[in-house]
């Protein structure tokens, strides 16, 4: 099971808490998923925050607060400080968004914010692209886990750059890597685990499924299958056919 900042979690599935049809369905989906980590956010208190907090506590998972929606270093750092106090954890999923349509990270602001936060004792989970150099800089800034996107947040497109993700895995064999965002189907999650990723973080694929608990279970099974497949050392693909049935002994007819 993945270990982040010295803490082993019970599942390679990290599940978001947004967009479910109801709190009861959210709880049902979490039970079905076996997720070890729940992502949460901070928003202006309008009356629902305390009920949500009670619901999250009852899930029994670890909490990973995010800085979703932050576009500047200052916003992200202040949000992280507020989240650390509210959720009583040094963990922070650091998002610094660079573009409103693609929601892709601003890598420059991300590295700067990560540097400030790690110096302040945070354990940063950066939502990043699969760019090797950005990832190098994030590690230099003190991050001990990387969370490259599979595809834009909420798109469900899967792993848009398998080559880049494979290269990242090969380049950082000892760094916990999480595919965060873009997962739409269990096959996408399985593919990430087959490549040797340590975990998958998803939300919309489960929350917006017709049957969120059913999809949560499917994701858990896919992640289990992908993990087992990676451990079993998959064959190398090849372009030409190779007969699996022996040619020796074939009859002359």
């Amino acid at each position: 099971m993945p270990t982040f900042y010295g803490t082993e979690v019970s599942s390679a599935l990290m599940l978001g808490t947004a967009g479910y049809p109801s709190p009861a369905i959210l709880a049902e989906a979490f039970r079905a998923s076996g997720a070890g980590i729940a992502t949460v956010s901070l928003r202006r208190e309008t009356g629902g925050g305390q009920d949500f907090w009670a619901l999250i506590r009852d899930l029994g998972t670890r909490i990973l607060p995010n800085t979703a929606g932050c576009h500047t270093v200052r916003e992200a750092v202040t949000t992280a400080q507020m989240a650390r106090e509210v959720f009583d954890t040094p963990w922070i999923k650091l998002e610094v968004i660079g573009h409103a349509d693609s929601l892709q990270p601003d890598p420059f602001a991300l590295v700067e914010a990560a540097s400030i936060l790690t110096a302040d004792g945070f354990q940063v989970f950066p939502y990043c692209t699969e760019d090797l150099i950005v990832c190098e800089h994030l590690l230099d800034a003190g991050c001990e886990v990387l969370m490259p996107w599979g595809a834009p947040i909420g798109s469900g497109l899967g792993l848009n750059n398998r080559y880049g993700l494979r290269a990242l895995r090969a380049h950082f064999p000892d760094v916990p890597l999480v595919v965060d965002a873009g997962i739409g189907l269990p096959s996408h999650a399985a593919a990430a685990m087959e490549m040797g990723f340590d975990a998958v973080l998803l939300n919309t694929a489960v929350a917006k499924a017709g049957d969120p608990a059913g999809m949560a279970r499917a994701m858990a099974l896919a992640i289990e299958a992908g993990t087992a497949a990676h451990a079993a050392d998959p064959m190398e693909p090849r372009d030409m056919a190779a007969p699996s049935t022996p040619l020796i002994g074939k009859a002359f007819l």
Partner: protein, 64 residues
């Protein structure tokens, strides 16, 4: 004292962040920021408000 809380104008007797929270009726699991800077819970009682200040009061919410 005229300040905004979560973007809404308020006219309060409060002179500190802690008093503003109490006067506006906020309770529970909350975090505060004043003019963009985090105000830890332990400093709310001694953090003074100024005219026109922007207070943000955040609570746990759904997130991905």
């Amino acid at each position: 004292m005229k300040i905004t809380i979560n973007g809404t104008p308020h006219d309060l007797r409060a002179t500190t962040v802690a008093e503003a929270l109490e006067e506006a009726g906020f309770t529970g699991k909350l975090a505060t920021a004043l003019n963009g800077d985090f105000v830890p819970a332990g400093l709310r009682a001694t953090t003074a408000l100024t005219e026109g200040a922007a207070l943000e009061v955040l609570a746990p919410m759904q997130g991905g």
